[in-house]
Symmetry: C2
Subunit: 362 residues, 2 copies
DNA sequence: TTGAAAGCGCTAACAT
DNA sequence: ATGTTAGCGCTTTCAA
């Protein structure tokens, strides 16, 4: 061999050094009974001397069907703070069971999602935790069959029934919108993601519910969909406030939407005039001026719960799929309590021109 | 068998169904030559019918010493925005090579770090990317030997020489401190992590260098170490401003330190009186009042570069270890340009008492 | 209490 | 172009 230095000690090496059989070493490594203390010590010495580390994948292969103690977590993007907290929660639950976590980003692309699922299934993970992209998930469910349990996170997968953990999106959106209505607003803008994503649909639903309950009419021009990035949100926000009859408050239903909206309001000098409520708390949001009123979710709890559900499935739980809904909390911090001061049509628009004319499209 | 439904089709099953030998299926699966199109199609049909998915771990075991296309990334905490961006960069580079990434948090605990290293080595990862905890890394280096290459990230590991990617911490800290000096400050507070962490030592070094260059004396009472969390930073900040002769500006050398410091300054009503510069840009920090002046790092680039270095090692690069240093950028946005207005001793302290007496310790 | 043989799912080297 | 044999590192029989 050219690079024997790279070779790793095997159980066979340990057995040879300790002067026992393979199986005896196996017994010691796996803490099985029927080994005398003397033999055990002898083997242990060889293990230490060779710095032997068991090969978990070979062990798994031998005892076919046994757990690899490895799971895969598919997020839209691992660096989104919300996703990062989910990962944290998953990791916490996983560590207790000595389970390792593969983390990956789907980029919201069904193709990437499927590629990742195959890649991890091929690596023999025990199961999957997936934030589903907006596509029919029957393909993935078929691919995984009954061999790999899946728990869906944050969004309900379409086309299938499976274990799912989400926030109470409709109720959260209703509460957020209601909160703005309570502050006197009648024209409330909505920023939301692509409606192919269930979460976005739910939040729009909650928004509409609140308007209806308050007897307010739905104005489609106040609704900006397909807001996936901060830049999208900036564009959407500018569009809203360049319109003839702009909103007096905005409900930003995603963290990216919120960040963009805060940026726009600041640029337009409207931070203290326009009400703003957001879903998803972000670091520093309580230190903004005004502090951000948010409907705070519990991504870490979501991750932990999803992992626990997956482990229950792996432990043999074969009860019907459940949809667990995690409650949210409205944190009134300032931006959502700005009263509706606009009485005459167009007043806010005038303010825009005055402060930052260059920001308003021709 | 009790649960044959859970059984996964093997290459043998495919061979049987296609009426060919194992090896022929193997050739088709691995796109090897010497299979007629007809046979290939025949095998492919069996693969599709059985929804066969190759077992990557078995393949790896067979061709011993071959890559598993799996690496492990150890971060201090996966939900820290800085760490999450590193993960993102690593993932981007890894995906190009079809490499899967295990992500895990050390919690800054050497024991956890070692446990994780063993857990991933045992799972046959190809190599490691590690943000080292504050401990002698010879143990880990010995454990991993030459079998597993390691690239260290963000911090220089102590006790060993190995591939390492860091920011230019000393220079960044010097620049940050110098920036405050340029604004007229003479008493500059420093918030930094435990000095057992190299990064913290480097940043303190840079701070001291800048003071020395400006002919300013070092005042130990202005230096708060062991700031690891936001809460630590809040406490440290209060201590600084409760002192007899408080600083007129602060250099917060970590994102947690910055967040805590912003909080304290806001509570004390000093946001516009005290200069503040930070290392590590955070989402929303440009929207604070005043906007935060930061020395921005490139965690995503760091992650990507580290992964590329690891892959180079895996591809056989055996040149001596390198220490790659990623440049940083000072973004002057407001908080760091607040001029030094304090002329008489104790003036700031008076302000504190006036605004929020309850915040000042007895 | 210990060990020998068989085989997990796959690939390498060598037939045919 | 296709198949056979051996074996990766380990665990499971089952025998001693």
């Amino acid at each position: 061999m050219t690079d024997d230095r790279h070779r790793r000690a095997t159980m066979r090496d340990v057995a040879a050094l300790a002067g026992v059989s393979l199986k005896t070493v196996s017994r010691v490594v796996n803490d099985e009974p029927n080994v005398t203390d003397a033999t055990r010590a002898q083997v242990q010495r060889a293990i230490d001397a060779l710095r032997y580390l068991p090969d978990a994948t070979a062990a798994n292969l031998a005892h076919a069907g046994r757990a690899t103690h490895t799971i895969a977590l598919l997020l839209s993007a691992v660096d989104n703070p919300f996703a990062a907290c989910i990962l944290r929660g998953v990791e916490a639950a996983a560590r207790e069971r000595h389970v390792a976590v593969f983390a990956a980003s789907t980029e919201e692309l069904p193709d990437v999602e499927e590629t990742l699922v195959k890649a991890f299934a091929s690596r023999n993970v025990d199961g999957f935790l997936i934030t589903p992209t907006a596509c029919d998930h029957r393909r993935i469910a078929e691919l995984l069959g009954t061999r790999w349990p899946v728990v869906y996170l944050d969004r309900v997968p379409s086309g299938i029934t499976a274990d799912t953990i989400t926030s109470n999106n409709v109720a959260s959106a209703t509460a957020a919108t209601q909160h703005l209505i309570d502050a006197g607003h009648r024209r409330i803008g909505l920023l939301t993601d692509r409606l192919s994503i269930g979460t976005a649909r739910d939040r729009r639903q909650g928004y509409e519910d609140a308007l209806r309950q308050a007897g307010l009419e739905l104005d489609e021009t106040l609704i900006q969909t397909d807001v996936a990035t901060v830049d999208d949100a900036v564009c959407a926000g500018r569009r809203l406030f360049a319109a003839d009859n702009p909103p007096t408050a905005v409900f930003a239903s995603r963290n990216a939407a919120t960040i963009g909206m805060v940026r726009v309001l600041k640029q337009l000098g409207l931070s203290h005039q326009v009400g703003l409520i957001s879903i998803d708390d972000i670091e520093l949001s309580d230190l903004l001026d005004p502090p951000l009123t948010v409907v705070s979710q519990d991504p870490e709890g979501m991750g932990r719960l999803a992992a626990q559900r997956l482990f229950a499935r792996l432990d043999g739980d074969d009860t019907p799929p459940v949809h667990l809904i995690i409650p949210t909390t409205l944190l009134a911090r300032g931006s959502g309590e700005i009263p509706c001061r606009v009485t005459s049509r167009g007043q806010i628009r005038a303010t825009i021109h005055q402060n930052t004319p260059q920001e308003t499209p021709a």
